[in-house]
Amino acid sequence: MTLNEDGLFPLLACAVVLSVGGVTQAGPVRLSLATFVENEVAVEIVLVQDEPGRGRLVGTFTPLDPGLHLYSKDLPTHGIRGLGRPTRLQVVSSRSIKAAGALAASRPTLDLFIRPLGMKLPVYPEGPVTLSLPVSVRTDASTAAQLSVTYMACSDRICHPPVIDKRIAVTIPPRP
């Protein structure tokens, strides 16, 4: 048991709130896998099963403050010349879902010009961006999966701490 930052009360909760369940509609099955807020960005990850055996892992990244942007998914892992960090959603390990295509973004990037350095960085416009990863889905049994997200929110005046390869354990229930 640890104490919270004020030294007032025991801290028992973990930082990530995982919610599993919620099959809510006919047609594509939408399964909420995880939601959390970290370093000024709200993240929701959903598994959308379009048809048996095929689906999409969909991550929505919403910066909490206006003026904050997220960097392109195509940025190198360590940024361009060291600057910036990519926005990514990956399947690390799973017996039930496997990546079956390239990660796609809901919005095109724009070039953020870093005048002092004379260079451009591709960022998503202010507001939420949704990344979608085609996946193959095994539906016969409930299995565990480990996902990974990476992102960093910056404005033109401040960068919040990056979230690098944050591992998220989820359970994919069998499709009824």
């Binding site: 919270n4 025991p10 960090r85 005046r157």
Partner: protein, 364 residues
């Protein structure tokens, strides 16, 4: 890495490697800069950042504009402190008020004595777009006669005078469903001052003991003592400044001691004033008050919103009572909170919901 700003090349402006050196000894660099500052009567400017941080590069470029460069050279010894991926020099950042919260770059101004006298971080950097802006902000930080507003004390928020009376509230504490704590808030009204005491414990362990002395007329805090296992603090509020000392553990080394003398709005109240203010608000449903609250963790003042809700029914272990709900939100670490105070007089704190499933509740 400490730099005397003797040349632009020394700042590594166009080197994307940048000035934030991973293997530098930040504590030693700060000590060196303080010694140099004592010798030449300058200040020390701590620049927390990272070479991957574009805004850090952008700010550094402004340092090199002619006006800013000459001002910085004449006024400061500059120490660049690499935060890595926020996994480096965290102890140094914590010592100087969680300097890297909520992000980087973050500038901290020290007097040559080591006293913290200014912050330029977060939203304060938003209007900085020129070297002149840099000079203006840092000039304000080193002006130790300055305050950020009127020198006339005034209440931070409208309180109900009838509620300023000697009283005590004892609340049970549950954390993540587990009971075992108590939170005791006492108020003593004297002839020219009001004193509040917070004592919180978990089972048999004392977690916090805080004492705040308020001016009896303005009800603004004058002096605060607080002791937890995370920090020991002594603060004084006067003339638009907050001065004090914070001692915090830094295992396995000796505790970190930091002194500070910071400009703040005269209406600023202390973080520990929330349990004093909320039950004593002039409760008008639908009203919102915004008060500046100084946090000794971050050594910064944060706007905090108090929103008074409608009269409602609240279920307590002893029965259901009428209460007012007050939502407290802002950038303090233990917010948001939801408070319920009794509609009946004398007013009492009935329940307070804190982050991480922590609930304070009256047993009566």
């Amino acid at each position: 890495m400490t730099i005397g700003l003797t040349s632009c090349a020394g700042l590594g402006l166009l080197s994307l490697g940048g000035p934030y050196v991973s293997h530098a000894n930040a504590r030693a660099d700060i000590q060196t800069a303080l010694l140099e500052a004592q010798a030449d009567h300058k200040f020390v400017l701590l620049d927390f950042g990272a070479n991957w941080c574009a805004p850090c590069h952008a700010l550094r470029a402004l340092f090199h504009t002619p006006h800013a460069a000459s001002y910085l050279l004449a006024t400061f010894h500059l120490v660049y402190i690499d935060v890595g991926n926020f996994n480096r020099n965290g102890d140094v950042a914590r010592k100087y008020g969680s300097a890297t919260w909520p992000g980087i770059p973050a500038l901290i101004v020290l007097a040559s004595s080591g006293e913290v006298i200014g912050f330029v971080t977060g939203k304060a950097l938003s209007p900085v777009s020129s070297g002149d802006d840099v000079v203006r902000l840092l000039s304000a930080a080193v002006d130790r006669t300055a305050s950020t507003g009127s020198a006339l004390p005034r209440p931070a928020v409208e309180l109900d005078p009838a509620q300023i009376r000697t009283s005590a509230d004892t609340l049970g504490v549950r954390a993540a469903g587990e009971s075992g704590g108590t939170f005791v808030f006492k108020l003593e009204v004297g002839s020219d001052s009001v004193t509040s005491t917070i004592v919180s414990s978990w089972h048999d362990t004392l977690l916090q003991r805080a004492l705040t002395v308020y001016d009896g007329l303005s009800l603004r805090p004058k002096e605060v003592w607080d002791s937890t296992d995370a920090e020991q603090v002594h603060l004084t509020y006067a003339a638009g400044r907050v001065r004090g000392t914070r001692v915090s553990p830094n295992p396995p080394g000796p505790p970190d001691t930091v002194n500070f003398d910071l400009a703040t709005d005269p209406s600023t109240v202390d973080r520990r004033s929330v349990p004093f203010i909320v039950p004593r608000l002039a409760l008008v449903p639908g009203t919102t008050a915004v008060i500046p609250i100084f946090d000794s963790w971050t050594l910064r003042t944060h706007p905090v919103r108090l929103v008074t809700g409608d009269r409602t029914r609240l279920a307590l272990p002893a029965g259901t009572v009428d209460a007012y709900r007050i939502d407290v939100t802002g950038d303090l670490r233990n917010l948001p909170q939801t408070w319920y105070v009794s509609a009946d007089l004398p007013r009492r704190t009935l329940r307070s919901e804190w982050p991480r499933h922590t609930v304070l509740e009256s047993a009566q």
